[in-house]
Amino acid sequence: MTIRLQAALALGCLLAAAGLTQSVTPALAEDLTVAIKAPITGADPHLLYSPNRNMQLHVYEALVAQDNNLRPVPDLATSWKVINPTTWEFQLRDDVKFQDGTPLTPEDVIFSIHRAQTIEGVRTFHAYVADVASVEASGDHAVRITTKVPSPELPANLATIAIVAKHAVEGASSDDFNGGPAAIGTGPYRWVRWTPGQDVTLERSDTYRGDPAPWDHVKFRFITDDSARTAALLSGDVDVADAIPASLFQRVNNSGRAKIVSGTSVFLHYMTIDRRDNPPFVTDIDGKPVTKNPFNDLKVRQAVTHAINRDGLAERIMGGGAEPAGQFTPDGFDGHNPDLLPASYDPDQSRKLLEEAGYPDGFGLTIHCLNDRFTGDVQTCQAIAQMLTAVGIHTKVETMPSSVFWSKATGENPQFSSYLAIFGSAAGLSSNALDVLAAKWDPVAGTGRNNAGGYDNPELNALIKKATSTVDDDQRQELLQQAAKTAIDDVAIVPIFFLKGAWGVRDGLTLKPRGDMYTMATNIEPAAE
C-alpha cells in the first residue's frame, strides 16, 4: 500500500514540477495499444478467469451478448423464445462465419455448451450451464435447449459461454488456442498471440459479419503497476490504460494528452452483519463478549447504515472512483429498484436508534477488510470504522490479503463478525448477488455462500426463489426489485458503494465504459471530428 501511495506521489510531484510541453507522437490510426492491469492466465475460452474473458470476448461470441449494462442482447442468436418453462428455442443468425471461413452450425453450439459443461479444470463455466440438460438442433439455424428446472436466467448465463468451432476445437490442446488452429471465433478480431506476462495481440477479422472493426491490430499490454501504467499512457506508449487509481485522475486530465473516462460498475462494496448468537468480534463497551447479539435488533442495523457517509467515502476517500450504493445493483442494471436510495448519512439518527435499542453507550466491534482488492480499500475500511465509532459503535479494524481473508470470512464456520468485500456477477444478474450475499447459507442448494453472518429471512429466501424461477421478464424484474427492497429494509447487508471503472484515454479517442470494467476494443473509437 505504502509503495503504491509513494509511487503515486512521486509521479504526481514530478509531473507537476515539469512543464508538460512534450508533444505526443500520435500512434498509427489503425493500431490500438491498451495497457491493462491484470495479466491473463490462459487462452481457452471455456476456462474461466475474468481477465481472460475480457480478451476472449473480442474473438469469440456467445448466443447472447451483454450490453454495456450487462443485460442480455441478441448476438449469434437473433431471438429466443420459451416453449415451456424448461424448453427454450434460440434462432441462430444465418450469416455467421468462423474465422477460417466455415459457417456456424447448430453442431458448433451444441459442442460448445457441452464442452463448457464437461471441461476439466479448476475454474470453469460449469455453474453457468448447470441447469442445461440437453441441447439439440431444431432446424438449420436453431437450437433447442432443455433445462433441468425452469431457468429464466438462461440467456444471461449463456452470454458467458463462448461458441467455438467444433471442427477446430475437438481434441485441441491449450496451446492450440493461443493463435493456433483452435483459436477460431466468430467475433470482430482474431487471436494472434498471447505472450504470458507480456501482451495479447489481436487482428481484425475479415470474416466478421458486421461492420469491420476500426483497428487493424489491437495490443493489450499487461502493466500491473498503477503508476507505470499511467506513465505509459502519458508517454504515448499506449492509447488507453485501464484501472487508473483516483489519485492520478487529475494528473491524467491535466496532462493535455489524455482524459479520464469512468463509468459505474456492477462491483458492489458491501459490509456484512453478524446475526449469529455468539458473534466472535462483537463485545460490550468494556470489551467483554456479549450475551445478546445487538445486531439482531433492526434499530442497531439501521444505526450502522445511517452512520456511514457514503458520499464522503465515494468523493473523498475514493477520489470520485465510486458511486454510493443503496442496493445490490446500480442504476440501469438487472434488478435495480429505483425506489431504493443510498441510506442517508445521519449520525444523530444513528445515536438515537442505538439509544432506543438499549445501547446508549454503544458496544464494541471489529471489522475485517481486504488490503489487496482495490486502491483505497484500507482507507475506506478505516474511515467506516471511524464513522461507526463516532455514533458509539467502537470499531477496530483488521486488514489482510485475500489469500488469508476468504478462508476465514466464509465457509462452514465464518470467523469474522463484519467484513467488507466486493461482489460482482459476471452475468450481471442481481439474483446472483441476492443468492450469494443475502439468501440463507445452504451448501446443498448453493445459496448464501458469502452470507457469513448467518442471516436467514424466510420471506426473502422465498422471494429470491420465486424470482429465479419466474420466466416472464417483467414479472421477474418486479420480484427481484421486491427482493432487493426486502433485504435492504431489513439491513441484510450494508451496501457501501459501487466501484467505478476508470480509463485513461488518449485525446482523439472515445471509450464507452462497460459495467464489468472490461476494456473492449470494440468500445474504443477514433473521436468524431
Binding site: Q22, A127, P196, G197, Q198, A228, D372, S407, V436, N450
Partner: protein, 324 residues
C-alpha cells in the same frame, strides 16, 4: 568427481526437501487456495468441485506424498491458476528474467570496477568523492522510486525510451530474446540500468576498498621497484588480488538478481518470472511456489559452484590447497 561436489549436491537436495515441507505447511496455514480461485458469483457446489479437483480434500501428508511421488518423475505439479505444468510456466518466463539480470550484471561490472578502481587510486580527488557520493545514492534510493523517475524522465518528458514492456523479440533456438533487436535493446536499457544501480554501487565500493587495501602492500612496492608500468601493476597485480571478494559478492548477487527482480519487473512491465512468485503467493498457487523455489535453490547452488571454480582460477593458493 570430487568429494566436495557430492557434498554440495547432497546439501542442495536437503534444502529442496526442507523447503517443500515448509511451503506445504505454510500454504495450508495461510488459507485454502480454493477460496481465492472460486469466482465470486459461484456457489458452494462449485467451490467443493474446485477443492476436489485440486486434491485439497485429502489430508496434507497425503497431498505431500503424492507431490513427492510426482516430483521424482520430474513433475512438479500443475499450477492452480494457469492450469499448466508449473515448470513450463516458469521456463516460459525465464529468458526474459535472465536477459535482464545478465544485462544488469554486465552493467555492474562495466561501470562498477573502473569507477571503483579510479576512486581507489585517487581517493582524495573531486571526481572520486563524487563517485563515492553517487554510490551512496545508488545504495539508498529505493528501486521502485528510481525506476519511476527514470520512466518519467526518459519516457514521459524526453520521450527517448519506451516506458516499459519488452519490445520486439527474435527467436533463437526456440527462445525469444529481445537484446538482439534494436527495439528490444531500447526496451532493455531502463530496466537493466534500474536493476543494476544497486549492484554498480556495491561493486564500486568493494573495488575501492580492495584497491585501498592492496596499494600499500609490499608486493606492489616491489613491482614498482622492478620498474613495471603503472598500467601493468594495476591490471595484473592489483586487479587480480581484489577480484576474489568481488566475484564472491557478484555471484551471490546474481542469484538474487534473478530471484528477486520483481520490483523492476513490475515497474517496467517486464514479462519475467520475478513477479510470478509474488502472484503465486498471493493466490496460494502451491505448485508454482514449490517449483519456483526449487529452481531458485538450484540456481544458488550452481552459482556457488561457479564462484568456487573461479577462485581456483584466480587464486593459486586455493588450487594448492585442494591439490595437496
Amino acid at each position: 568427481m570430487p568429494f566436495w561436489f557430492i557434498k554440495r549436491l547432497f546439501g542442495a537436495l536437503l534444502i529442496v526437501f526442507a523447503m517443500t515441507i515448509i511451503v506445504f505447511v505454510g500454504v495450508s496455514v495461510i488459507g485454502n487456495p480454493a477460496d481465492i480461485l472460486v469466482p465470486p458469483d459461484a456457489d458452494q457446489v462449485e467451490r467443493l468441485r474446485i477443492v476436489t479437483a485440486l486434491g485439497l480434500d485429502q489430508p496434507l501428508w497425503k497431498q505431500y506424498l503424492s507431490f513427492i511421488g510426482n516430483a521424482l518423475h520430474g513433475d512438479l505439479g500443475t499450477s492452480f491458476v494457469f492450469g499448466e505444468p508449473a515448470l513450463k510456466v516458469i521456463l516460459q518466463r525465464m529468458p526474459a528474467t535472465f536477459e535482464l539480470a545478465f544485462s544488469a550484471l554486465i552493467l555492474a561490472i562495466l561501470f562498477g570496477i573502473p569507477l571503483g578502481l579510479y576512486a581507489g587510486l585517487r581517493p582524495h580527488g573531486l571526481l572520486s568523492r563524487s563517485i563515492m557520493a553517487g554510490s551512496i545514492l545508488g545504495f539508498s534510493l529505493p528501486t521502485f522510486w528510481v525506476g519511476l523517475m527514470m520512466i518519467m524522465l526518459f519516457a514521459v518528458q524526453l520521450g527517448w525510451l519506451p516506458s516499459g514492456g519488452r519490445g520486439e523479440t527474435v527467436d533463437v533456438l526456440g527462445v525469444r530474446w529481445s537484446f538482439l533487436t534494436a527495439d528490444g535493446l531500447r526496451h532493455l536499457i531502463l530496466p537493466a540500468l534500474n536493476l543494476a544501480l544497486f549492484k554498480i554501487s556495491l561493486v564500486i565500493r568493494l573495488t575501492r576498498a580492495g584497491v585501498r587495501e592492496v596499494m600499500p602492500q609490499e608486493y606492489i612496492k616491489f613491482a614498482r621497484a622492478k620498474g613495471l608500468t603503472e598500467r601493468r601493476i594495476i591490471s595484473v597485480h592489483v586487479l587480480k588480488n581484489i577480484l576474489i571478494p568481488i566475484i564472491t559478492v557478484i555471484g551471490l548477487e546474481f542469484g538474487s538478481l534473478i530471484a528477486f527482480a520483481v520490483v523492476t519487473e513490475t515497474i517496467f512491465a517486464w514479462p519475467g518470472m520475478g513477479k510470478l512468485i509474488i502472484d503465486s503467493i498471493n493466490s496460494l498457487d502451491r505448485p508454482m511456489i514449490v517449483a519456483y523455489l526449487v529452481i531458485i535453490v538450484i540456481f544458488f547452488t550452481t552459482i556457488n559452484l561457479i564462484v568456487d571454480f573461479l577462485y581456483t582460477v584466480l587464486d593459486p593458493r586455493v588450487r594448492l590447497e585442494s591439490g595437496g
